[in-house]
């Protein structure tokens, strides 16, 4: 009897699963075979930075709504993996917070497929804090932040912080400095800012995606995984400070500090001030999209200009110069759309900042560069 039941059970499961797969397969075919003139949907695969993922997914959906014959799939594997997969030619484009390192760029440039990089969206890092009972907005500069993360400023009412905030009632409490425990582009931008703003306090050796934090040795440092981990720690730890991606911070409601820029102005991170930094870094972009972008990427951090928020960064998309005939038009349409319609407020996700008009025009030069292999 048990045997019969077993056989019946297995049969039922098989039939159900089989039927489901059949339905799904037919549904899928129906969807890929769109209309007579576009027999197959072109799929563009991207991989890389997690930062750009929600924004790129928004773009992908809006883009496909207009061009149903093209579908874009993006996998948030991290900037490093995205670059590697770009070099291995298993994706159609990559997303990366920093541009290709000089050596990788040179290798890609030398290959027949070539390489084109472009900054498509802006990010920035804010200094979030948790000081219970504090009224008013905290002001900081690169040097005090560097000293906090070095462990040399120990208390919130340190004279060096007080000097920047004469009108605030700062408590006599120890500062807990929260940082990322994982390797991250956010850490890279943040430490680059500290070095550029206070080179005598923060040496070049401490500019990296992951570093040994000096403050950890004093026991007042804490590491969190991802933006999420840092936000959680800052929220839970009174009298703490932490650096967080702007796109993430706007969703959390934590207060963040005004940061002094090159011109000596204490400035808030807003879409306008972040865009101003990009506008001021625009003249430092390389002459061609095929060039090395590392200098430009460093230039936007602590960029000149009264209105520039100092901890701002570009996020890049990396393309080939040559595509197969079936993909070349799709890629061009996507690049064109991202740099025109895609930058309009209705297509920008909350927390992301569009690139200024000048850089959009700059990016559109790619349309002349990209060629078909056939």
């Amino acid at each position: 009897m048990a045997n019969l039941k077993l056989v019946a059970g297995v049969l039922i499961v098989l039939v159900v699963v089989g039927a489901a797969i059949m339905i799904v397969m037919r549904g899928g075919e129906g969807e890929t075979a769109q209309s007579p003139e576009t027999p197959r949907q072109v799929v563009l695969l991207g991989s890389g930075a997690t930062f750009i993922h929600p924004q790129l997914d928004k773009w992908a959906k809006e883009f496909t709504a207009i061009y149903p014959s093209i579908r874009i799939e993006y996998n948030p594997t991290g900037s490093g993996t995205g670059q590697t997969q770009f070099m291995q030619k298993v994706v159609d484009f990559a997303g990366s917070d920093p541009p290709l390192p000089a050596s990788r760029w040179a290798e890609a440039r030398g290959r027949p497929e070539g390489v084109i990089q472009m900054p498509v969206i802006l990010g920035s890092v804010v200094i979030a804090y948790n000081i219970p009972g504090l009224e008013g907005r905290l002001k900081l500069d690169g040097e005090t932040i560097a000293l906090i993360y070095k462990g040399e400023i120990e208390y919130w009412d340190d004279p060096r912080i007080k000097a920047l905030n004469p009108d605030l009632k700062l408590p006599n409490q120890k500062i807990v400095a929260v940082h990322r425990s994982d390797s991250s582009g956010t850490t890279h931008i943040f430490t680059l800012f500290l070095h550029k703003a206070a080179p005598h306090v923060w040496p070049k050796e401490l500019v990296e995606k992951a570093i040994e934090w000096p403050v950890d040795k004093t026991g007042r440092g804490l590491g969190g995984k991802g933006n999420q981990g840092v936000v959680e720690l800052v929220r839970r730890t009174s009298y703490s400070i932490g650096y967080v991606e702007y796109a993430y911070a706007v969703l959390t409601g934590l207060p963040w500090a005004l940061v002094r820029n090159v011109e000596g102005v204490f400035i808030d991170a807003t879409p306008e001030t972040i865009m101003a930094a990009a506008e001021n870094a625009y003249p430092l972009l390389p002459p061609s999209l095929e060039d090395d972008f590392n200098k430009a990427w460093e230039a936007i951090v602590y960029a000149p200009g009264k209105n520039s928020y100092p901890i701002t960064s570009f996020s890049f998309l990396i393309f080939y110069k040559v595509y197969s005939p079936d993909k070349v038009d799709a890629i061009k349409k996507f690049i064109e759309w991202v740099n025109t319609e895609g930058q309009k407020p209705k297509n920008i996700v909350e927390g992301y900042v569009p690139i200024p008009e000048s850089i959009r025009q700059y990016n559109l030069r790619a349309l002349q560069l990209i060629k078909s292999s056939g």
Partner: protein
Amino acid sequence: MDTRRLKDKIFTITVIALSIVAIAPVFHIIIYVSYRGLPVIVESGLEFFTSIPNAVTDPKPGGIAQAIIGTLYLTATASIIAVPIATLAAVFSSEFPRSRLTHVVRAASRSLLEVATIIVGMLVFALLVLPTGRFTAVAGSVALAIVMIPYVYTYVELAMLSVPRTYVDAAYSLGMSRALVIYHKLRIMRRGVVRGLMIGVTKAMGETAPLLFTAFGARNVLFGGPLEPIDALPLMIFQFIQTGYDNWIKLAWGGAFILLISYLTLFIVTRVLVKEVKY
């Protein structure tokens, strides 16, 4: 009350308390995942099972149909590849325990169990993705099959070996052929065999690492076919939960709930259907 009884009581209570502590995490997972996941499914309704995820800007989260379809497809195809290979290998090594090939298979299976599944993903990436220049559902199926094989093999072999020798001798002395004996051994030990299959299937359903570099994930289509990238529940949960956006975090919890329900159903159904053989 005498001290012996008292000691006995204390011991019993301690054992019960410790057992509760041991299984508490399981209940914690079930309760917490339901608490976070169930409201999402209620909120989205049928759309949760029929649509793809919405953009983060959308007021509603949308659905996870592509991930459910992907996990069903990947698990089914991985099982189709893995189960025959693993079962045949297990039958072979239980029938010829002294063969040199058995030693090799056993060693290979044991080391596969030890290998981190991300390595399996990278191996399949090097063998199937790099040469073709394409992430595919097929690569995902193969990677999951490799993850499944050692589990199914180990459990089925164990089941086969635990058939009492006297039964086998009796079968042969009645003039049964070897094939028939093997069939009856599998039948007697079906509970163990099915348990092996279930462990393999659940393992494949819950894996993220081997899919990262093979199936890749495709969230803007329900099903793109075997030669296109494909999504899976664990992959989607992993990538959505670390974003800051409500929509995607909700979908991740909803997906986790679906995965949990699938596990529980699989285990309960096989427990009920496959009865222990009394002998």
